[in-house]
């Protein structure tokens, strides 16, 4: 049977990866050219076996092979082919499989792109291979996706969760996984660097583009996830501080700090200890994310069904990875030469501060995720940490970081310039930002310090970089496009989030059919409501004619669906998108007097939030594809 071939290829790949790991790390002369080419070829073979195994699996899913328990459980003959494929990563076993395939894919690309002469390559490949072996054993032993149902397979498969049949949900996990596992490259190189113990090796330059690529995937993946939650869950927010969102945010924060620190280490061999530590932290946090989601220790929208062995295995393996890296780090610490003292007001000094601020954020999120678990364990009292805590930490720290960023634009590498606070660009952007903040305060009549401070900080960055761009256009002064775009999108993100929380409103209205309710500037006319029958669900669809203050009218048709097989009810939101705001409607229940409860949200600048985040990712793409950054 075909599934056995797929299963066998995975086992074979595990064996080959083990050989690669063994020979590259435990053979003393791993720098001989014969051995390194052997390692390269064996790794590639292992990758091909694993990849074919996955392709066969995809093919089995497309052709509805319900002999495979996992496919039978998560796919259905009636599904379109696209969702048959995406059903593979809709639950634990299959998504773990994809996660591992992506991990090996990063290793494979690194394997073919990096020259065999690169001194760190054999050991890096070995580390990647050992990590692969660990996760493949986890997959095969505790979460085997190849298990078959005998003797009689079900005919049509399962009725899969309708919430999961959604394009954004189909692509956001793979994007996130690509981000998470991509950090295996800088991690493996850092560990290889520690194993070699030769401080002269410039591992930082080797991993720069790899790290930024992984960061881009993580950024885009988080943004897609946020967008999905917005329209699918029907709550209308873009970020819920859900534990699973938090475990994606932590590696992102660590990766951002890591990329900054990496820049310094490449430029001037400073902060090297920080850079190594951060590379370990980023990958550990990525693994920690996998642990949290898959151990069942936290319940969330995203968490997978659970089995106690999985959690323990993952914890043990991740613990092993972390401890080996930390011991190596401690062992080699004194030999890593991190040169000279950092000068006051140099770029390096600002980036050091940035590292500390990011560390604070990561620590706070970690605390927010783990504290409820510890608290419940110790005091048997359930608690949860919600948005107020994160706001209390993030707003001041991010505002502070933005202000440092603002001053850092004028700083120079390795030079403590005589810092002038009253230069034209600083003065100009400060005045403009103050004016904007003051305007917001008066016009929108708000006293909220956190909103005003964020708007001030965000616009400071934007104005400062606009000045740089003008300088570039007219005086041909060099700017780093990555830095300018990424930082401007941070400014834009801050401003969008602030305006969003300042202006967005919602109200639950009760409306009769054929009558009009007014909310803010909107006139909402309830045209019709009716039942529609579809192949696997019934839906109640309401139709509203909404007119805004400019007399523009549009139709919105929110739905409530009831799926036949399990009677599951889902809410389909109706959203009218304009440049500045979304009008977002969901329907609730019918009241005794015949009217319907309708929730209307006006979400300002919400598209801008995702646009800024995507722009930030785009900046990373520019860096990856530019030649200049190649050190």
């Amino acid at each position: 049977m075909i599934i056995e071939i797929s299963h066998f290829l995975s086992i074979l790949a595990t064996g080959l990866f083990f050989l690669v790991g063994y020979f590259s790390i435990f053979t003393p002369s791993s720098n001989s050219s014969y051995l390194s080419s052997l390692i390269t070829r064996t790794y590639s073979q292992g990758f091909f076996f694993l990849f074919f195994s996955f392709l066969i699996y995809v093919w089995l899913a497309i052709t509805d092979n319900f002999n495979v328990e996992y496919i039978a459980n998560h796919s259905n003959t009636a599904l379109p082919t696209f969702y048959k494929i995406t059903s593979i990563w809709s639950a634990h076993e299959g998504s773990m499989f994809l996660w591992i395939v992506f991990l090996s894919l990063w290793g494979f690309i690194f394997n073919i792109r990096v020259n065999n002469n690169e001194i760190l390559k054999p050991k890096s490949m070995g580390i990647i291979s050992f990590i692969l072996v660990g996760f493949l054993v986890f997959l095969l032993a505790t979460s085997n996706p190849f298990v078959t149902i005998l003797p009689i397979p079900p005919l049509n498969g399962a009725d899969i969760n309708p919430v999961l049949q959604d394009p954004a949900l189909a692509i956001h996990p793979p994007t996130l996984y690509l981000g998470y596992v991509g950090f295996v490259i800088p991690f493996a190189c850092a560990i290889a660097f520690l194993l070699h113990g030769d401080a002269e090796i410039n591992w930082e330059a080797l991993v720069k583009k790899w790290s930024v690529s992984a960061w881009v995937f993580l950024t885009i993946g988080i943004t897609l996830g946020s967008w999905w939650a917005y329209y699918e869950l029907g709550w209308g927010g873009y970020w819920f501080w859900d534990p699973v969102e938090n475990v994606a945010l932590m590696p992102w924060l660590a990766a951002t700090a890591f990329i900054h620190s990496l820049g310094v280490s490449i430029k001037s061999s400073q902060l090297r200890i920080w850079t190594i530590l951060l590379s370990i932290l980023v990958f550990s946090l990525s693994l920690f994310g996998a642990f949290i989601v898959r151990s069942g220790i936290i319940d969330s929208v995203h968490s997978f069904a659970n089995d106690p062995d999985r959690g323990l295995y993952l914890l043990g393996f991740i613990g092993l990875i972390v401890f080996i890296s930390v011991f190596l780090f401690v062992w080699r610490l004194s030999s890593i030469k991190s040169s000279s003292v950092i000068k006051k007001f140099s770029k390096q000094s600002f980036i050091s501060i940035n590292n500390i601020l990011f560390g604070t954020l990561i620590f706070s999120v970690m605390l927010g995720v783990t504290y409820p678990l510890i608290y419940e364990f110790l005091f048997d009292q359930k608690i949860s940490v919600g948005a107020p805590f994160y706001n209390a930490i993030f707003i001041p720290v991010v505002v502070l970081a933005s202000i440092f960023l603002f001053f850092s634009v004028d700083s120079k590498w390795s030079r403590s310039i005589n810092f002038e606070f009253f230069t034209a660009p600083i003065f100009l952007s400060a005045v403009l930002s103050l004016a904007l903040t003051f305007f917001v305060m008066q016009f929108f009549n708000t006293q909220s310090i956190s909103i005003l401070a964020s708007i001030f900080a965000g616009s400071l960055i934007i104005f400062r970089y606009i000045y740089e761009i003008i300088n570039f256009l007219f005086k041909k002064k060099y700017v780093n496009p990555f830095s300018v775009i990424a930082h401007m999108s941070l400014g834009l993100l801050l401003v969008s989030i602030s305006f969003n929380s300042l202006l967005s409103t919602e109200r639950a209205l009760s409306i009769d059919i054929n009558s009009t309710e007014e909310y803010k500037d909107l006139k909402i006319f309830f045209e019709d409501i009716g039942v529609e029958n579809n192949s696997n669900y019934d839906s109640i669809q309401a139709s509203f004619l909404v007119e805004d203050q400019n007399g523009r009218a549009f139709n919105l048709k929110p739905e409530k669906r009831r799926y036949f097989t399990r009677g599951q009810i889902t809410t389909e939101t109706a959203i009218h998108v304009t440049a500045l705001r979304d009008i977002y409607i969901t329907i609730g229940d019918q009241l005794d007097d015949g009217s319907w409860v309708v929730n209307v949200q006006i979400n300002y600048l919400i598209r801008w939030i995702w646009f800024s985040a995507l722009l930030m990712g785009f900046a990373g793409i520019i860096l990856v594809f530019s030649n200049r950054a190649k050190a």
Binding site: L367, G386, R566, I569, T570, D589
Partner: protein, 136 residues
């Protein structure tokens, strides 16, 4: 002490002071922003300051749901004690009488003014927090 050593001691002290005060600030804000979870019985037994955000979970008492325009009120019970909840907005799809619910809100005059109402999950899909809080 020679100047170099003196400087080193100062820098270590500075780092320690800085991180200790930073961590205590974070812990302080964590402590003041926690949402505690109670059952109606626990709610009765303990003294909960009004205006503090709390979560309360239990079953929706059958026959207790009243709707008036967009406002909804109902009683949460753990079959020993119960508490009234007032909420403005759309209750989740899975909200119904005799089924599990968790509300987040503040307690005023023995009534909870909810900002958020979450229903116990059905099948595989669950909104955040629910499972965790509904196990009692």
């Amino acid at each position: 002490m020679n100047p170099i050593r003196k400087r080193r001691v100062f820098s270590i002290l500075f780092v320690l002071l800085f991180s200790v005060s930073g961590i205590s600030l974070i812990l302080y804000s964590l402590n003041s922003n926690l949402d505690y979870f109670f059952t109606p019985t626990e709610l009765k037994d303990r003294n909960i300051p009004s205006e503090k955000r709390i979560k309360v979970g239990g079953m929706v008492l059958s026959g207790s749901v009243e709707r008036a325009s967009s406002k909804i009120s109902f009683i949460i019970t753990d079959y020993e004690n119960s508490v009234k909840v007032v909420y403005e907005g759309i209750v989740p799809d899975l909200f119904k009488e005799d089924s599990g619910v968790v509300v987040l809100g503040v307690l005023r005059n023995k009534t909870i003014y909810a900002e958020e109402v979450l229903a116990k999950h059905d099948e595989n899909y669950m909104p955040p927090n629910i499972e965790m809080n509904n196990d009692n």
